[in-house]
């Protein structure tokens, strides 16, 4: 199937039908398919796509992965860390791999499974959480994802359950002769007072090529605390568009880390709805682009209720001809008094041909709020460079130290030390002089 064909009205059968879905689900997928067929790719003149052009993506042909190739232990080793025990689900080219997965021992009331398996097994209670946050009006790609729903992760935390180890959702993109497309869809349902850290990890094996169009729906019930880390390490020939939808109820807390290192063209939309008083979202992000990489993050935080808080810190680094885009939108509803919203976006531009576009956007309809935002684009601080040189450190090393430090401010916010170390290491290998910590 090439891109043009994928835009034709939904085929007679949708992928979800393979799992004998309940009527409501088939309905939702069909509606999404109709929505996508009508909308197609976003209009390049659309404000939301001003800085990210999809021409090369549109002109590519992709095939849908029908079965996943066998991976060996070495492949898996590239993507996991022995010093970070986790509950692990592995997907290869979007398809669940039970043999590679190790959900491990789970506390009573916690479910971590393949969404396809859950649907096929007739799991109850999915109707309120699957496909309900996907805002098809907002994103063509989210609609496309839901239309093509086939597999992904389902994580359900019963009230007051707590996971000590992180959940590692490992989406591996394998190297195939023909570029592939897959649409992983994950649902995370955190019950009242529950707590967990979910690592959504997208990684391409050397030589992988294709397009991952992911969607993740996160439901936080009252007083739940969820840390969600999105780590994107696609290969240099891959495209990734990801839509995250988060709905946070009373006194719940989302801590999001969004780390984008790989891929040819990547775009993530984080949609956070703070629906009830006391809900809080902390969003940390880092992107590093070099070569001709392009990455784009749009965050949209909607303060719908009073006494909600958001705090956003994004750092971007662009070298060579790399291009980075950050748009941070904060909406404060008329009745959402006494909210606090802070946004900080800092960027390092390391070459004349690199480009950064940053755009804070605040829409505030309440009158008693505390909001701040700041965006900077700059080069390395010459004073810091001179200070390091004056201590005997050469220019190249000083440069690497300062770039690393800039990125590390965000990396250090990750509570999982082995994961932070992995990201630091990935960054170090891209810095010519290398830096150890």
């Amino acid at each position: 199937m090439n891109a043009a064909e994928s835009l034709t009205p939904p085929a007679e059968t949708l992928p979800i039908e393979a799992h004998r879905p309940p009527a409501w689900l088939l309905d939702r997928c069909s509606q999404a398919a109709a929505e996508f067929a009508q909308r197609g790719y976003p209009d390049p003149r659309h404000e939301e796509w001003k800085y990210t052009k999809l021409r090369t993506l549109k002109n590519q042909s992709f095939v849908t992965a029908s079965h996943a190739p066998m991976l060996d232990a070495a492949d898996l080793e590239r993507c996991t860390w022995p010093d970070l025990p986790s509950h692990r689900l592995v997907f290869v080219d979007g398809i669940y791999q039970p043999a590679l997965s190790e959900p491990g021992d789970l506390p009573a009331g916690v479910q971590i499974t393949s969404l396809a398996q859950a649907i096929a097994a007739g799991a109850v209670g999915l109707e309120t959480v699957l496909g309900t946050l996907v805002d098809a009006q907002y994103s063509s790609f989210a609609a496309w994802n839901l239309a093509q729903l086939f597999d992904g992760a389902l994580i359900q935390l019963a009230p007051d359950t707590c996971l000590q180890q992180p959940v590692h959702l490992l989406f591996i993109h394998s190297a195939q002769p023909t570029p592939q497309i897959y649409h992983p869809h994950s649902v995370i349902q955190a019950g009242q007072g529950s707590k967990a850290h979910i690592l959504e990890h997208h990684i391409g094996l050397p030589g992988a090529q294709g397009f991952c169009n992911s969607a993740t729906e996160i439901h936080l019930s009252a007083n739940a605390t969820l840390e969600h880390t999105l780590l994107q390490e696609h290969s240099e020939a891959s495209y990734h568009i990801g839509n995250l939808f988060i709905r946070a109820q009373r006194d719940s807390r989302l801590i999001s880390h969004n780390i984008n290192l790989g891929g040819r063209l990547t775009r993530h939309d984080l949609n956070v709805d703070l629906c009830e008083p006391g809900a809080e979202a902390v969003l940390n992000g880092l992107f590093v682009v070099g070569g001709t990489q392009h990455t784009d993050t749009h965050t949209r935080i909607h303060h719908r209720a009073p006494h909600t808080r958001s705090d956003e810190t994004y750092h971007g680094i662009a070298d060579d001809q790399g291009r980075g885009v950050f748009k941070g939108r904060v909406l404060v509803a008329r009745d959402a008094q006494k909210i606090e919203a802070h946004q900080h976006n800092a960027n390092l531009l390391l070459s004349d041909k690199a480009e950064i576009d940053t755009k804070p956007e605040l829409e505030i309809y309440a009158d008693d709020v505390r909001c701040s935002h700041g965006a900077t684009i700059g080069q390395l601080d010459p004073q810091s460079m001179y200070y390091l040189q004056s201590r005997g450190i050469d220019r190249e090393k000083a440069r690497d130290m300062l770039i690393f430090a800039f990125a590390d401010e965000v990396i250090q916010r990750l509570p999982l030390a082995p994961l932070a170390k992995h990201i630091e290491h990935a960054l170090q290998t891209r810095l010519p002089e290398g830096v150890s910590v």
Binding site: S384, Q389, S390, A398, L402, A405, F406, S436, V437
Partner: protein
């Protein structure tokens, strides 16, 4: 060790140094004093090799080599270390990492292997104690959130670890309370040795009560207008700069 000969330098279009002559030998401590705007800091930055400070005439020989030809990092590795008047804050770079990178750069320059981590830590701990600094300093970002006194202590800590042949201390005493001044002065006094030289650039005579100089120079309008021994500092303390300036005019 250091020979400055008819040094002229400008910052942007303005000529600041107008023919400085200075000879510093191993084992000596020189104090360079002068009113604000006399060119003290410019001299330090020219010695450090900062961009934007252009030498328009004269020469500087350091250990028999042309200092002005060297990149800032080479000057440091050759043993000329500059203590900053305003140490720079560098978020995200830990003190211990800066110290280690600097120490190893020095060792590699001398053809020695990089330092063993444990030995290096032991060395750092010993020097921390001398400067009455807590070990937590090592894990804080360089100068970020440090008080004025802590920044200056940190400069001297680096000196004690890197052991330069020539330490140039730019207004190391400014912004220090009397207790911090004592600690910093003690650190500087520990640097003194027959093989090493120190240039203290200061506005106040107070520092020289704690670090006794062998030579004192008065810098005014880009020239050294008078040199003498430590008694010159006392004379300045008593009479101020005005007398000497008028006398030189």
């Amino acid at each position: 060790m250091l020979t400055i000969d008819h040094l002229h330098a400008r910052v942007e279009a303005q000529e600041i140094l107008k023919g400085i002559n200075l000879e510093v030998k191993a084992g000596e401590v020189h104090a360079i004093m002068g009113p604000n705007g006399s060119g003290k800091s410019t001299l330090c930055q020219v010695l450090g090799g900062r961009e934007g400070y252009t030498v328009t005439g004269g020469s500087v020989q350091f250990k028999g080599q042309d200092l002005l030809e060297m990149a800032p990092e080479v000057r440091a590795r050759e043993g000329l270390l500059l203590g900053f008047q305003y140490p720079v804050e560098i978020p995200g770079v830990k003190n211990i990492y800066l110290l280690k990178a600097a120490y190893n750069a020095l060792r590699v320059h001398r053809g020695e292997p990089e330092a063993d981590t444990f030995e290096f830590l032991a060395l750092v701990r010993e020097k921390l104690k001398l400067m009455q600094m807590d070990e937590q300093f090592l894990h804080r970002a360089v100068n970020v959130g440090f008080s004025g006194g802590e920044k200056k202590r940190n400069e001297i800590l680096q000196m004690l670890i890197l052991e330069p042949a020539l330490a140039v201390l730019d207004e190391t005493d400014s912004g220090l309370d009397i207790d911090a001044l004592k600690v910093v002065s003690e650190g500087v006094n520990r640097l003194r040795s027959a093989q090493r030289a120190i240039i203290l650039v200061t506005h106040y005579q107070r520092l020289l009560n704690h670090i006794e100089p062998d030579h004192v120079h008065v810098l005014y309008k880009g020239r050294i207008i008078r040199s003498g021994d430590k008694t010159l500092a006392h004379e300045l303390e008593r009479d101020g700069y005005q007398g000497i300036i008028e006398e030189a005019a």
